[in-house]
Symmetry: C2
Subunit: 150 residues, 2 copies
């Protein structure tokens, strides 16, 4: 939490509540989930404040926004480079700390200046394998979900 003292932000109670909820959280929550968790300890919290704060934190580099769940934005307080493992049934997202050296050859860069990369692994989580959760109706079919093994 001390890590936030120097990001050039006024640390208001609301922001602290959000940061506190995010701190060490590896569930990659959505704005909605953050709002739910924080507003119950902090009943005056507004949805706008959650979005405002997340936007600000994003700009300051204190959180990153994840794609991978096409239904909503999700946020990650872990800003160190890492990859993700996504359940194609319930969209649970787990961290992958393995380091990969993936370099895009200049000939494949299409003139882009490369700034980074991110791997999404797809799979079925333990709960969903047991006919479990699957909050998502029929599952969201996304790129790579049926790539060949490597």
């Amino acid at each position: 939490m001390d890590r936030y003292k120097n990001i050039g932000l006024k640390l208001t109670p609301q922001r602290l509540a959000i940061l506190d909820f995010l701190e060490g959280n590896t569930t990659h929550p959505s704005a909605e989930e953050i709002f739910a968790a924080v507003s119950d300890r902090f009943p005056t919290m507004s949805f706008a404040t959650v979005y405002n704060t997340l936007e600000t934190l994003k700009e300051k580099g204190a959180v990153i926004e994840l794609t991978g769940d096409p239904r909503k934005k999700r946020f990650d307080p872990n800003t160190a480079p890492h990859h993700h493992l996504i359940c194609i049934r319930c969209r649970r997202i787990a961290d992958v700390q393995v380091d990969y050296k993936i370099d895009l050859p200049r000939s494949s860069r299409m003139g882009f200046e490369i700034t980074g990369n991110h791997i999404e692994f797809y799979g079925v989580c333990p709960a969903c394998r047991k006919g479990g959760p699957e909050k998502t109706g029929s599952g969201v079919q996304t790129a790579g979900e049926e790539s060949h093994e490597n």
Copy 2:
């Protein structure tokens, strides 16, 4: 186009128009863009039909849905495993045909059964480098955009 004859679908004019637009299209268009392109040759086309068709094609495995643009879903008629290069300014998405062997060690699988993977490379496209497009306001800061080089 013949490839669609055997996907077990009634090939209605609307579906053919959509498939025709998608065929060989490497721009990874959104539903909106598909609707715009198709409805002008086919004025009675409904937005619902675009979504219905895309959903059906997705189920049949004829298109895949891309994440990576947090603002809207985008679709790819190229269902062969491949990766993508995304402009962090304008969200243009280009194909990456390079093949990577990325294996997730069993110890990092968290009990998931892995079904595939997908790499997103981030960068700035040629147009945006020249202070060009950048239809997106301040750019969407997303996971991996500032990973270290590998």
